[in-house]
Symmetry: C2
Subunit: 233 residues, 2 copies
DNA sequence: AATCAATACGAACGATCGTGCGTTGAGTAT
DNA sequence: ATACTCAACGCACGATCGTTCGTATTGATT
């Protein structure tokens, strides 16, 4: 059940290859180019101040073409959130899935998140940190989509922690959701601090806080020490 | 020395009352009205997508008047950051200063911050969370001003924690800066989560995380329990 | 061959953006 | 009383915004 969280739904590829309409293929290719430019721009400029004109320019297409392919700016924003979600899953979730359940997967997940932020998978840092701050006070579908994705991530992290507890690898973990909240908080402040200051020292602080919490939960000292000792500079 | 951090500099009142130029007084009154509208709008819409026109409309002044009073949009943004900083100091820092140094002031500071977020001192939640996410990938004076204010806050929180340690009230506190980082992370995620979901349950999570950390540092159990038991709903 | 569907473009719409210019009026200083 | 300073306004500039047309082009369908 929890394994079905945060999976990539292979929608387009499956339905498109059934009939392989050349027009649709061309359109989907354009959509992909547009969305790739959109999420990169949004992570820097902000999801709400995306301009269709700049996206079109970055994608090498006409402005009116972008407008007709997505209809409205809000629908383009919603598609951008979904595209960013897919990139996040590919970058952070799926590699962690290759580790066995338990503490190893927890550490892989956190390691993957830090790399996702540090390596600027989105040029402006974590897309969802930017989008959440941008839309948290603007009710609407876009805010709901961002909130839903973040809730999904928090739920997956909590489930991963709970697995580790159930396997006896974090025997003293009392509240997986609380730990998930704390880990996310540390990671996202490290992301913001790295962007604001241009330094990577806060990733070390995030690692230290998470390691301390995992040690208190009874996790294996050697594995946690190795995690905390990773240098991100 | 650390007491000089985050103080309100009484610039305007002191220099203006020397000669009491009626024109300057009128202008300063307009500036205050404009900046009050600007910070409120910025916390909701975002500091970078503030529009001079909407600010003027909210302040009941002409658009060109706003432009001439601040010259450029960037200078208005810088003034808005300074105004938001003053409101933050008045709301969070100064009330905590009335508590004695030590654990009591630490708890008052965190309590004040949660109230500052929960009561929407800025209608769109913490101004600096919004501004930092908006500008963290946009180099310039505004980003530097936001980063400087946040660094100032983190430094003050760390110094307050260090005082508590020096007074023997947090004997096991090993790294005040690390604790300050962790506290800020928990508070700001609670702020965002409250805005995104419309629920206040995350403040409880932030309190729990901070209380746990303070207990581990050897803080007085009764005081910490009372802090953690506060309901924000 | 003819009809329909989807992409793609250019042009234009009204609206708003940040920023200047010129003028008016209130307040100060000589 | 005259000259000067600053706030405040109306107006307009060029630019960009999101969106909507009309039209050409390419591919699928009949």
């Amino acid at each position: 059940m929890t394994d079905e969280l945060l999976t990539l739904t292979p929608t387009d590829a499956a339905s498109a290859t059934v009939h392989a309409d050349g027009r649709r293929l061309r359109g989907d290719a354009s959509r992909r180019v547009i969305l790739a430019a959109a999420v990169d721009l949004a992570s820097v400029e902000g999801l709400d101040q995306l301009s269709i004109g700049r996206i079109a320019q970055a994608a090498g297409l006409a402005k009116s073409n972008v407008a007709t392919l997505f209809g409205t700016k809000e629908r383009l924003q919603l598609a951008a959130v979904e595209t960013a979600r897919e990139r996040f899953v590919e970058t952070v979730i799926q590699p962690a899935r290759e580790h066995p359940r338990g503490l190893a997967r927890v550490l892989a997940l956190v390691d993957g998140w830090i790399a996702y932020s540090r390596d600027r998978v989105f040029p402006g840092g974590c897309f969802f940190a930017e989008a959440a701050a941008d839309f948290d006070a603007k009710p609407g579908e876009v805010r709901d989509a961002v909130a839903s994705t973040l809730r999904e991530w928090g739920g997956y992290l909590a489930a991963t922690l709970q697995h580790a507890h159930d396997l006896g690898e974090l025997p003293s973990l009392d509240d997986a959701k609380q730990a998930s909240f704390e880990f996310s908080a540390l990671l996202e402040l490290a992301n913001r601090d790295s962007l604001l200051t241009g330094r990577n020292s806060s990733y070390r602080r995030a690692r230290a806080g998470i390691a301390s919490r995992l040690s208190a939960a009874g996790g294996d000292a050697a594995a946690i020490d190795a995690f905390a000792a990773v240098s991100d500079g």
